[in-house]
Amino acid sequence: MNPDLEHRLQAWVDGELDASSAQEMESLVARDPEARALGDNLRLLRGFLQEHEPVRALPETQDFYWSGIRRGIEAEERADRGRESSDPSRETGGRAWWSWVWPAAAAALVLVVISLFPGREGGTAGDLATSSGASSSAKAPAVVPVVGHEIEAPEADGMETVTFYSSQESMTVVWLAHADVL
């Protein structure tokens, strides 16, 4: 029996062939004792593995976790597009309505936060992004911005403040760009 036929037989045993190919394999097994013996052996082996091979749950890595979320979002977007294409009224109705609610809610949240922490309440992610002095001073992968109101810079004139915490180095950094200290 040639290898190609063996592979097709194995695929048939695994239920991977389409209907016409599967029918071909059934005919082959019926008339060819060698193919029938191989098929029987493969079935036996498959059953043995299914019954006795231990199932091991692999720990989900962080990359896999986030890529799973990304795949979920992409699948939902695809489903949304599918629904929109099948229902044109959603384009101007439901979808359009939802598309601006979340940005509006986010903008409102930002305004609330700004109004709660007025002035140069440093340590926000925005500060980290806009402060050229700080962003060029710290090695970005090692640090995370600290968001909070525990910092004040009342006399800061032209000064930019960024607070971040490096968990790796157990270090809280308050970066005062353009500060007149020395």
């Binding site: 001073s137 490096s166 308050v174």
Partner: protein, 158 residues
């Protein structure tokens, strides 16, 4: 005899009272912190200045977080922080710290430059944690005020 006994008792009680008052009245020293004023550069150590290179773990930690390759110590001071009483620490002629121990390991740190409050931060400081106040200086150099728990060998220099 009775008078002598009375006087001895009186003196004894007075001594005990003074000792007790001293014990109660003595302020707890509070957490001892150490502050360092550092200068970071990618260039050479400035000639003519008495600067001690930062070495060991702090040097490695700073280089892992910041872009500068060399750090030099301008000043180092260890000081006690009694709870509720701010401690003033002059780090240089122009740079001053005021540290208030709010409650145990929580501190309010104020940094003054040229007599003006530059930043005030409330921060928890425990063993192994470091607070770095820093900023850019001329010629792409930087200054740093590093605060952490004092080591046992740190001399007290308020």
């Amino acid at each position: 005899m009775n008078t002598r006994l009375f006087l001895e008792s009186l003196v004894g009680m007075a001594v005990l009272a003074l000792a007790a008052r001293g014990a109660v009245g003595a302020e707890p020293e509070g957490t001892r912190l150490a502050a360092q004023l550092l200068w970071g550069t990618n260039g050479e150590k400035p000639a003519g200045k008495e600067l001690k290179p930062v070495e060991g773990e702090l040097d490695r930690r700073l280089r892992r977080v910041f872009k500068w390759k060399s750090y030099f110590e301008i000043e180092r001071k260890a000081f006690a922080t009694p709870v509720g009483k701010p401690t003033k620490v002059d780090m240089s002629k122009e740079c001053r710290l005021e540290v208030l121990n709010v409650s145990g390991d929580e501190f309010e740190i104020q940094l003054f430059g040229k007599g003006v409050l530059v930043v005030k931060k409330r921060q928890r400081i425990v063993a192994g944690e470091t607070v770095v106040l820093g900023g850019d200086d001329k010629n792409d150099n930087a200054w740093f005020v590093v605060l952490g728990m004092a080591k046992p060998g740190d001399p007290a220099r308020p």
